[in-house]
């Protein structure tokens, strides 16, 4: 659940206007060579541009997608050596070679990323580290291709349509172009629908999957983009230095670029640029500091991580003590709804048959079977530990069941098996759930959370960041309306400032925004006062009546369920013991029986 560092969308509105600042900076930098600096100084600034570009690229991987990549330099090397070999052996001109080099790097990124993205964070770091070193060793030992440790010399300077970039000033402008491109590229990714999806995944991958976001796809996308930028930088580097050797692509380089990203706040844009400039310029300007550079970096890495953790822990403590649970909800009572005739309860929508789930030695679900009809509102009751949430987990494929089958019958009469699907696939098929403890995306405002729900089946295209010109967080659209219906007063509120109840309501709005076939609501009324409960009941009724939404609701408040639900399912210790109308005999008796279970008494009380 913990992101590397929240992207802080609410606060960085200045960053949204990046193009203007970037333009001003570009103009200032473009004027620089006219002041007659030495070739050496130009050389150093171009080095800054290269590291800015690398930093921006890795920022997409580490900062936007939360993937710790310790072998980033491998893609840099692929770009550099591709250009070197293509231009030396086949005289391929700059632009095509650039595309091939960057493209090859991206391709290798996809090939490497595909099996590894799914691994745990720290394992991914080691896989990438291993891969980076393997690339370096290949470059070093594959003599016939790469000339081994001797490297490739006399790489031609880039020439575009007859214009050759052969002197330091011209390279400066080309480097400036590279740096600016990488900054604008990153910015476009970050402030796009794709960027929002990445932020959601980084904040809470489980919640993202529960509304249909495919974490693996976007992580791989970010990984490949990062590789592309590195490849591009590599091509530039080779054409500028006119010499490549395996020693330019060591683990130390990967760590240097990682340090740039960490220092730059992981996910932020301008601070990363500044960090790159600092790390390159400082050792040059202050002689004698060069030898201490790695040591200082190591200390900085440790200090930054420790400080961030201390801040996080103290913020957590503050949050707990402020007891947002008791914060009065800002829910305004809804205007009374027109009475809309209830839709008739239809055929079977969801069938659960013989589902079981064990955790180690504990049996959480034992041969559970039942059916849910279209447009029904079904209440699910039972003591704590009866298996209610586990049942939700299994239906929504958050956790796979051990045995049994779950089927969804959709409008066209097709029967879809949910067994074996992953959580996001289940969500896209129409099975969406909320969580007992609200799992919202902390770095996005409330209304954007809902907007992401809306995009459950409207998946942004891969090229969306390129063609997306107006940034939208959803506050101007139907997402905002939906959010209002469920009570959250302010759309742009960030999650930290919301009460527990508001968070639950926002999560509910988000789930409904996905237009599910069936909604699994987990304890929506917990922590709510009677007035709020009434509003919630009305809102759920509205969803059922107006949208035809079928629901299963877990609750401990039997009154709440009696007025809301058509049917009640009672569970006890992993099995369904009764099902029927809320006031029916068997249900009442079953509930009384669970009351004899000492755990229930605490729950109902």
């Amino acid at each position: 659940m913990s992101a590397i560092l929240p992207l802080d969308w609410g606060k960085l509105t200045a960053e949204r206007r990046l193009p203007l600042t970037a333009l001003a900076l570009a103009l200032a930098l473009a004027a620089f060579p006219l002041t007659g600096p030495s070739n050496y100084l130009l050389h150093v600034i171009v080095l800054v541009f290269v590291y800015v570009s690398l930093g921006m690229g890795l920022n997409i991987v580490v900062g936007f997608a939360g993937l710790l990549d310790l072998g980033y330099v491998a893609f840099y090397a692929v770009g550099a050596y591709s250009y070197a070999l293509l231009s030396l052996h086949y005289q391929i001109p700059f632009i095509p070679a650039l595309l091939v080099g960057a493209g090859l790097a991206a391709l290798i990124g996809v090939l490497l990323g595909w099996p590894t993205i799914r691994t745990r964070g720290d394992y991914l770091a080691l896989v990438t580290l291993g891969f980076g070193e393997i690339i370096r060793l290949l470059l070093r030992n594959w003599d016939s291709l790469t000339n081994g440790p001797r490297g490739l010399m006399n790489i031609p300077s880039p020439s575009v349509m007859g214009f050759t970039f052969s002197n330091p000033a011209r390279f400066y402008y080309l480097g400036l172009l590279l740096g600016m491109f990488s900054i604008c590229f990153s910015w476009k990714i970050k402030y796009s629908d794709v960027g929002q999806q990445l932020a959601a995944i980084q904040d809470d991958e489980v919640a993202a999957a529960s509304i249909g976001i495919n974490p693996a796809r976007w992580k791989l996308y970010a990984f490949a983009l990062g590789a592309f930028v590195a490849g591009m930088s590599g091509v530039f580097f080779a054409s500028w230095q006119q010499f490549v050797s395996p020693e330019s692509f060591t683990l130390g380089e990967s760590i240097l670029v990682l340090s740039i990203v960490v220092l730059g706040g992981m996910g932020r844009l301008w601070p990363t640029v500044a960090a790159a400039a600092l790390l390159v310029l400082l050792p040059e300007v202050l002689r004698g500091l060069e030898t201490y550079r790695i040591l200082v970096l190591g200390v900085l890495l440790v200090v930054i991580v420790v400080m961030q953790e201390k801040l996080r822990l103290s913020a957590l403590k503050k949050r707990r003590s402020t007891s947002l649970r008791n914060k009065p909800s800002e829910v305004a009572p809804l205007s009374p709804l027109r009475t809309v005739p209830r839709r008739p309860i239809g055929k079977t929508l969801l069938s659960v048959s013989h589902v079981s789930k064990h955790f180690g030695g504990i049996c959480a679900l034992q041969d559970v079977s039942f059916e849910i009809m279209n447009c029904e509102i079904v209440g699910l009751v039972g003591a704590n530990g009866a298996g209610k949430t586990t049942l939700f987990n299994c239906i929504a494929q958050t956790i796979p069941a051990d045995t049994g089958k779950i089927y969804l019958h959709n409008n066209n009469g097709k029967v879809l098996s949910l067994t074996g699907q992953s959580a996001f696939q289940a969500a896209r098929l129409g099975v969406v759930r909320t969580f007992q403890q609200p799992r919202l995306f902390h770095s996005l405002p409330a209304v954007t959370n809902v907007k992401l729900g809306q995009q459950c089946r409207n998946i942004p295209a891969l090229w969306e960041p390129l063609v997306h010109f107006k940034y939208s967080d959803g506050s101007d659209s139907s997402a905002a309306n939906l959010l209002h219906r469920f009570g959250s007063a302010t759309y742009e509120t960030m999650v930290e400032g919301m009460s527990f109840v508001d968070q639950k309501l926002t999560e509910l709005a988000r789930a409904i925004a996905t237009q599910p076939e069936i909604l699994l609501v987990d304890e929506p009324a917990s922590g709510m006062e009677p007035l709020a409960r009434q509003s919630l009941s009305q809102a759920l009724r509205w969803a059922n009546e107006t949208l035809g939404l079928t629901m299963i609701v877990i609750e401990h408040d039997l009154e709440f369920l009696r007025t809301l639900c058509d049917r009640i399912v009672v569970m006890d210790r992993g099995s369904v013991i009764a099902t029927g109308a809320p006031q029916s005999d068997q249900v009442v008796r079953a509930i009384r029986r669970t009351l004899e279970n000492p755990e229930t008494i605490d729950a109902i009380a």
Partner: protein
């Protein structure tokens, strides 16, 4: 008849090469096993991959050098005395550094995201390497010769005293560790905390202290590995711990992370396969092969060759 003789001689030669490579690989494997054990123990108690384990080896090796050169000059001691001095020096310095690292860089981030823990370990690794680099330089320093150069034959291979010592001492350490884990109170606490830190705390076990003791044990293992690496290779250098650290981690994963017996097995498997690959396939690609194994295992079978190993 002649052909038979040639074939026999060939077979004998191949036999002796193979057995020699096995001896080489076994020695290397014991060193990797010790490093892998350190990773496994620390991971077991705190779910933390202490990336700088290799650097602790390096610190141990330099500690041994320091002890032998500074103290060994004043204390008249034979080879055995010098060897003991070397180990004591190594262990002392490595434990000190390990405890400092634990207190400053690891304890504060015990509950942080795993990726952040890795970044911090990386930082510690960089700090340790560069402190040594800045104080003694980047040269290869000759490790004092503590073992005679004679050798004896064993199944067609030449086994040198240093090789025998490495294998014997490593086995001794592993047996000792096994005893600590099974028969002492510390071992009990260690296993309890590895299972579940919360439960252990409820049972009255001082988790912080157990973690500290684990670090000490891990540092002792690393230091011993470092001294033996220095003696076996003959040289020490500021970055000598980096690659063995990664290989030790690979070994730990191979054997199923979180299980000491797995770490030992993984170390031996890695040492032997690396040596065979270097001898029969290509010496230049030897590290690449070990790294490829790491990548492969992490992707395909992060639970290790044998069993489940670690659960996330």
């Amino acid at each position: 008849m002649f052909i038979d003789a040639v074939v026999l001689k060939r077979a004998q030669m191949i036999d002796s090469i193979l057995s020699q490579q096995l001896v080489n690989g076994l020695t290397l494997g014991c060193l990797y096993a010790l490093i892998a054990l350190g990773y496994t123990l620390i991971f077991g108690v705190m779910r933390f991959i202490f990336f700088a384990q290799g650097e602790l080896c390096m610190i141990g090796a330099f500690g041994a050098m320091g002890a032998v050169f500074w103290l060994g000059r004043h204390i008249p001691a034979g080879l055995i005395g010098l060897t003991t001095l070397a180990f004591l020096g190594a262990i002392l310095v490595a434990v000190l550094v390990g405890l400092v690292a634990e207190r400053l860089a690891i304890r504060p981030i015990r509950q942080a995201a795993r990726t952040k823990q890795l970044i911090a370990s990386l930082g510690v690794s960089m700090i340790l390497q560069n402190l040594i680099l800045l104080s003694v330089g980047a040269e290869n320093y000759s490790f004092p010769s503590l073992f005679p150069n004679s050798a004896w034959s064993f199944l067609g291979a030449r086994v040198t005293p240093i090789q025998s010592f490495v294998v014997a001492f490593s086995i001794f350490l592993m047996v000792g560790l096994h005893w600590i884990l099974r028969a002492t109170r510390l071992g009990l606490h260690l296993r309890a905390v590895s299972e579940s830190a919360e439960t252990a705390e409820l049972d009255g076990i001082d988790v912080d202290r157990t973690i500290m003791m684990t670090f000490i044990v891990g540092s002792v293992l690393a230091a011993s590995a470092g001294v033996m690496m220095g003696a076996y290779d003959g040289v020490v250098k500021y970055n000598m711990g980096f690659l063995p650290g990664i290989k030790g981690f690979t070994a730990a994963i191979l054997g199923g992370f979180g299980r000491p017996s797995g770490a030992m097995l993984g170390g031996l498997v890695l040492g032997v396969s690396e040596t065979i690959a270097a001898g029969y396939i290509s010496s230049s690609y030897r590290d690449a092969i070990a790294l490829a194994l790491l990548v492969f295992i992490l992707i395909v079978r992060p639970g290790g060759l044998v069993g489940k190993g670690l659960s996330s």
